[in-house]
């Protein structure tokens, strides 16, 4: 009886881990999509209102999708940090992988230090990369989720068998 329970537990744990991983993938895509939307809003504010960095971040705390992230950024900017410094301090809240953060780096490190043409082109490039990455992930997501679930189920079944 105890072995049966242990086997069921092992299977359940592996299956949950797989489901959790799949959920994380979904969240990551959601995060990228939300960030892409916010960067598009940022581009509009930059292009048509020519707001300062503080003004843009302040506006994104109300209009953006990643409200909590922009609120933290706003706090850091008010403490006197530059956009690059604030982004470095708050980037972990975005729940993005290293690759995506690396793509964001050229924009985040220099936002506010150049003329409007350079800023806009840098922002467009980041948006394109993010959007492409997001689309790729979205395309691959069903397969990846299936793979995750299958692998975790198989691993769970193997563990259960071993226990039994």
């Amino acid at each position: 009886m105890q072995r049966l329970i242990a086997a069921a537990l092992a299977f359940g744990l592996c299956f949950s881990a797989g489901a959790l991983k799949a959920e994380r993938m979904r969240m990551k895509i959601k995060g990228i999509v939300a960030l892409t939307d916010d960067l598009l809003t940022l581009e509009t504010l930059l292009k048509y209102e020519r707001l300062s960095v503080n003004g843009i971040v302040g506006r994104l705390t109300k209009q953006g999708r990643l409200t909590a992230f922009w609120e933290s950024m706003n706090g850091k900017l008010k403490d006197g940090l530059s956009f690059a410094g604030a982004f470095k301090a708050c980037a972990s809240q975005l729940h993005l992988d290293r690759e995506t953060l690396h793509e964001l780096e050229p924009f985040a490190q220099s936002f506010g230090s150049s003329d409007i043409k350079t800023e806009l082109s840098r922002l467009r490039l980041v948006n394109e990369k993010l959007a492409a990455g997001g689309q790729k992930l979205q395309k691959e997501l069903p397969n990846r989720i299936r793979l995750c679930r299958s692998l975790s189920s198989l691993l769970g079944a193997a563990l259960a068998l071993l226990v039994l």
């Binding site: 707001l51 530059s82 506010g112 003329d115 409007i116």
Partner: protein, 353 residues
């Protein structure tokens, strides 16, 4: 009516009667200090607070890549040779700081060669701009900074307001003087007086502030005291802003700095057509220099401008001379209408009388 008397180039203690001035200077000094590299900040703070020994209060802080920092006062200068020279990295940081980490948002100002910071601090810039189609399109490599501390002298124009008005209304006039005499300071205080009704019935004032020197605005809001009934259009050529202000803001008076040529004077003429008085300044040290400006003489003869004054300054006093137009020419003196008001105190006494 009691008039305040303020020493024009005195130390901060000498102008205790002007609370607003103290406040404006405090904000300006804080703002200027924020832009100075950290290693020089304590030293700069000491000079900004107490002035330079024997040379009076600080007027400008100048930074050039590879050179020692220069501190200029009304009476001299000080080179900080014992400090390491200003570096390229510091220049980059300074540019970002004065632009509030938003260089793109200050692009228009940058291409004009200056940025205005909170408190009305004006930072002049030099470097290697990108020049296209006959104009500067970008200024990103900045190597020289001139941080100018605004010296708003509250009350300096009060004794002279009666000279600029007639029957409770402002009359169109031009104030001429050579550079560094205090035209802008004087005009700014005239704006405050007109706007707050000091020495004249309160007027709605519109300021065509092409170089943002009169109002020291940040994000369109004036940082310097220009009164409660003042509207300003910043950073736009006078020929564009004056007609706009006349149509949209219905002012009693338009004040503008540095008239220069036909385009400016036709904008002034446009305002005059609608019965709006214009107070402006021009660069000229004497009547003969004024007479050399044909466009100005034509405007005077055509009745666009009613009067011309020459502003002079000795250490602690302004001297405003009216220059009269006789027989189609400008005469500096020797004619009946020549008038002169000496020190603030003397002017104040006359106004009281």
């Amino acid at each position: 009516m009691a008039f305040k008397t303020t020493i024009l180039t005195g130390s901060a203690e000498k102008s205790k009667e002007s609370g607003i001035r103290q406040q404006a200077l405090g904000a300006a000094e804080g703002s200027a200090l924020g832009a100075v590299p950290e290693r020089i900040r304590p030293l700069a703070a000491a000079y900004l607070k107490g002035g330079v020994n024997g040379l009076g209060p600080v007027e400008e802080l100048r930074f050039r890549v590879g050179q020692p920092v220069q501190i200029r006062t009304a009476n001299g200068e000080l080179l900080l040779r014992d400090q390491p020279p200003f570096t390229e990295n510091e220049a980059k940081t300074m540019l970002e700081t004065i632009c509030d980490h938003s260089v793109y948002a200050r692009e228009q100002e940058l291409t004009s060669g200056f940025v205005t910071m909170p408190g009305g601090v004006r930072v002049g810039l030099s470097g290697a701009p990108i020049f296209e189609d006959g104009r500067i399109v970008r200024l990103t490599s900045v190597s020289g900074f001139n941080i100018r501390i605004p010296r708003q002298v509250i009350g300096c124009a009060e004794p002279f307001i009666r000279r600029l008005t007639e029957g409770g209304r402002v009359r169109s006039a031009v104030i001429a003087s050579p550079p560094r005499v205090g035209k802008t300071t004087f005009l700014r205080d005239c704006i405050r007086c007109f706007s707050d009704g000091i020495g004249v019935r309160a007027q709605t004032v519109a300021v065509a502030d092409e170089r943002n020197e009169l109002t020291g605005s940040v994000n369109g809001a004036a940082c310097l005291n220009v009164g409660a009934r003042t509207d300003a259009m910043i950073g736009v050529p006078k020929s564009v802003s004056i007609p706009l202000l006349v149509r949209s803001m219905a002012p009693d008076v338009i004040v503008t700095d540095e008239l220069f040529g036909e385009a400016d004077i036709s904008a002034v003429a446009e305002a005059a057509k609608y019965g709006v008085a214009v107070l402006a300044s021009v660069h000229a040290a004497s009547a003969s220099e004024l007479a050399a400006k044909r466009w100005l003489v034509d405007a005077l003869l055509g009745g666009v401008l009613a009067r011309v004054f020459i502003l002079k300054r000795s250490v602690n006093m302004f001297d405003l001379r009216s220059v009269d137009l006789k027989n189609g020419r400008i005469a500096e003196d020797g004619c009946g209408s020549f008038s002169r008001i000496h020190a603030f105190e003397a002017g104040a006494e006359r106004c009281k009388g």
